[in-house]
Each structure stands twice: as structure tokens, then as C-alpha cells.
């Protein structure tokens, strides 16, 4: 289990209703159903992934998040989760708005482009970073909307989205640094959100 997913689990109450956006092969959602007895719904666009998730006994709907999520009523889930999908969306800000509308809370994780390795790569080599976490070349990548921790928080503020909690995954020993200076040391950022005043 990826570290960010382990951390997400702490924020999901037992027996709650969870919508997992971009659930992939359903491994995480199946674990939530198994361990926390949540009633889960997955959203996935790739048919092969979806079939794998269905084989795990999950309810999964094939839908393109980028076309919006207007078919989900307000507050129809306790928590809407989106792990490592923000950066592939065409309109990430619109999806975030839907997430805090549909869920009482939303949990988002994304790779932090402000990490010092990215900065160093770009700064020294003068080229777009390619790494184990981000293995694609700039011209052929699903990741079209990278952002930094600061960028994300700025966006949330402008969308009237409240940060309930945040966490980070640093690389190896830099976990403490990641907590202290997330914008430079978090490899993955994890946010717990809700609509302000909602």
C-alpha cells in the first residue's frame, strides 16, 4: 500500500460512504470496504482497470471526471477521495469544486512539483524533470497539470475550500523536513478539505 493511501485511511470514518475518483484497479477502495466497512463507489475511465475493480466485488461507474460530476447530488457521500489524479485532469479546479459539493469532506493527494529535486533538475539542467515518480517526457505525459503545495493551497483559497488537515510523504529520511517545509520537501501532498462554511 502506498504511503499516501495509508495516511488517507486515518481520515475516513468506519461505515461511511466513500466515492473514490479514479479508483484504478480498486485495490484501495476494496481495502477500505474490508477494513473500515465503508460503502464504496469507484469512478474509473479505463475498462480494464474497471473490470479488475469489479472482480474485487466493488461497485464502479465508468465516467470521465473531466466532463464534470453533475450526476452526483450534493452531500451524497461522506468522503470523496482522489489519489494521484489531480495532475492528469483537464480542469482540476472544476473537479475540486465538485468534490467538496458531493462529499462532506474531500481528500486529495498529488505529486508536489515544488519538491527540491524537481527544482534542482529544472534549475541545473534547465529541462523538465523526469524521475521515478514522474517518468514521462513533457510532450507525452498524462500529467498535464502539475502544481506545487503552495499553488494548490492558493487554488483552494480562491475556490472557498477550507483545509481541514494536510499531510505529506517525504522521500526516505526527509519526512520531518517534509512536514516542516512541505513546498520544498514533500514528494506527495495529502489534503483533507471541505467547502468553507459548508
Amino acid at each position: 500500500m502506498r504511503l499516501d493511501l495509508t495516511q488517507i485511511k486515518r481520515w475516513i470514518p468506519k461505515g461511511s460512504r466513500v466515492l473514490d475518483l479514479g479508483c484504478g484497479d480498486g485495490e484501495f477502495l476494496a481495502e477500505l470496504e474490508h477494513e473500515l466497512e465503508v460503502s464504496g463507489t469507484g469512478l474509473e475511465i479505463d475498462l480494464h482497470n474497471l473490470s479488475e475493480a469489479v472482480a474485487k466485488g466493488l461497485s464502479v461507474v465508468q465516467q470521465d471526471m473531466d466532463a464534470g460530476l453533475p450526476n452526483f447530488p450534493d452531500n451524497s457521500f461522506d468522503t470523496v477521495v482522489m489519489a494521484h489524479a489531480l495532475q492528469v485532469l483537464h480542469r482540476p479546479h472544476r473537479v475540486l469544486e465538485h468534490m467538496v459539493r458531493i462529499g462532506g469532506e474531500a481528500i486529495v493527494t498529488f505529486p508536489n512539483f515544488g519538491h527540491w529535486r524537481c527544482r534542482l533538475y529544472l534549475g541545473l539542467r534547465g529541462r523538465m524533470p523526469v524521475s521515478k515518480v514522474m517518468p514521462y517526457s513533457w510532450y507525452d505525459t498524462p500529467n498535464i497539470h502539475f502544481c506545487t503545495v503552495k499553488d494548490f493551497e492558493h487554488l483552494c483559497d480562491s475556490l472557498d475550500i477550507e483545509l481541514i488537515a494536510k499531510d505529506t510523504v517525504g522521500g526516505g529520511s526527509s519526512q520531518i523536513l517534509a512536514r516542516l517545509w512541505p513546498n520544498a520537501f514533500a514528494v506527495t501532498a495529502i489534503y483533507r478539505l471541505r467547502r468553507r462554511g459548508g
Binding site: L47, E52, V54, A55, S59, V60, V61, N71
Partner: protein, 380 residues
Amino acid sequence: MTGVDSAGSVGLVIPFVEVFEEPLTLACGRTLDRFELVLETYGVLNADASNAILICHALSGNHHAAGFHSRDERKPGWWDVAIGPGKAIDTDRFFVVSVNNLGGCHGSTGPASINPATGSPWGPDFPQIQIDDWVESQRRLAQRLGISRWAAVIGGSLGGMQALQWAVSYPDWLDHCVVLASAPRLSAQNIAFNEIARHAILSDPDWLDGHYYQNDRIPEKGLGLARMVGHLTYMSADGMSDKFGRELREGSLGSEESDAVVFQVESYLRYQGAQFSTRFDANTYMLMTRALDFFDISRDHDGDLRRALANTTASFLVLSFSSDWRFSPARSQELVDALLAEGKPVTYADIEANEGHDSFLIDVPGYLPLFTAYMARVGC
């Protein structure tokens, strides 16, 4: 194709008839004093009768969904790709019940049956059956077979509507509802196509207002034309291009005898029409298309789909096919959205396929693996 002796086939099957003497009051208000249903079953009903699956057929379908009636039969039942040992509807695990709808023309009571009041075939006087009536008759059949709950009710197209009606009318009677290439109600365009098909039958001089049986006539031309129109709408433009293109079956375009030119697609449609008119009954076609037109799962709820589905307790599998313009993916999504909004468990996918509405009958890539993956949870 699976042969009669192959591991994936249910092999030889024998249809049988169940007779029901208790009167059945129909949705239209009329009553059938008695009726018969012809059916096939595959697999074995387990001790607590918890592994039963009902298959609901589409407009032109019947009870022969899998296996072979004889060693000479050229093709297996209409859904042999999905039903059999190790297949999506695994007959090693499930007891599968496949019944010819009331009003049908393959052995269940229908327009060609004798009306006890007159001693002649019912013809057009046979009551207009609606989808609720099929569900009711199937429920009686279930009780007869010792089944008080279906592990799943499964259908494509018109059969999907029946499955949906089951989930709404008798929520306590099914665990899973599988709705393939279907819709919560027909669109105006769909009703229009049905009307053209009916009009083709009505225009045939051999139709005789539906009383053709006594006169040894069959409105073959009208029924064939109805089928040609119907069949055309079950295919997609791309699918037809792939299958036929502009290939000629007879003649050549450069020759002076333009009458001799027959495109492959023409020949195919003519064949489909001619075949159909020998195996189907025109009165049943009228009845089935009307049943399709009348169906609206939300009719009792002012068209509010969410309210119509509010009391369902089944888990749903809904599948559509990308090139199906007769029962388009948008109609399935409408159903899925209402289920999601009501917080019902639903799995949905739109399968990429070129074969149009008929895709649900074919092993198109991705479809059967997903169907199989879903069925793994049924009956557990």
C-alpha cells in the same frame, strides 16, 4: 462457436411447458383465465434455491438461450456466448431459467394460441401484454419451480426493461439486476421505428386485420420488411461498413443490366427479413413492439426516475455499447445517474463496440470479461 460437445456448452437441452390455471389479471385490466409458458433451464437448482437466475429475452428472442435442441441444430441458443459452464452466467454455479414471454410465438400462450371463448386463434384479440405482466407471469413460474428469490434477473434490450421492472415491482425477489443495452423508457425515435415496423405489417394484404391464421395466410412481406427496418437499427453505420462496405453480391456496376446489381448489404437484409418471417408471428411482433413503446419505469411517478427506483434493493450492473444508437449509452447513463442519486449500488460501463445494439449478443472485446467479473459476486 461452441459445439454441442464442447466444455463451454450446456449441450442438448429440452424445452418444457408449465401450465397455469389460476387467472392472471393483466395491466390492461383484462384477464387470462389460463396460460402456458415454455422454458428451458440450465444447471442445477441448489438445496436452498439460492442460485437461480432468470434470463429475460428481447423483442425477437425466445426461451432457447443456450445449448442445442438437437445434434442437427446449426446454431446454439441466442445467448450461448454468455451462458454455459465457465461462462459469464456459469451453469456450473447457477440454475438458469429462460422463458418465452407471454404473448410470444415459440410455445408460450400468445396470439396464435386458441382463445377458449371462440375456439379460434386469438389473433389481434389477444390482450395487449405489458412488461408488468411478464414479471407477474415469471413470478408464478418461479414459485412453481420452488424459487422465492432470484440471485439475479438479467436481460438485454426489452429483456433489460423486464429486469428493471422486477427490481421495482418486487424488490425482495432479487439480489442483482443486470440491465444490458436497455433504457428506462423508449425515446420518440424508438417508438417511431416501431411504428414503421408495425405499419409494414399492417400494409401487407395477407395481414387480414390479424386474422390470417384461419385463412392460411401469413403476412410474410410485411413482417420481413418490419424486420429489415428493425435489423438496420440494431447495427451501426461503421459496423455495416466493416461488414459489407460497398461489396456486390451479384452483377457489376459497369454493366447495362442495373437490375441485376445486388449489394451485399441488400442481400443480407433481404435474407434477415425472409428468415424472420418464417420463424416469427406478426401478431406477436405487434404485441411486443407495443409493450416496448408503453414501457416507462417512471410512469407511476410522474416521470421521476429517482422516485421510481427509490424502493429497489438490488445491486445493479448496467452496460451500454458505444455504437448502439437504438438504445444509446445516454439512456443507460440516465438510469445509472438515478441509481447513484438514490445511493443504490451500481456498476456501469460503456463498452467500445462497432456492432450497435446487437453488441450485447456478441463476444465484443472487454464485454464478457467484465460481465464475468461482476457475476462472481452473484449467489455468494
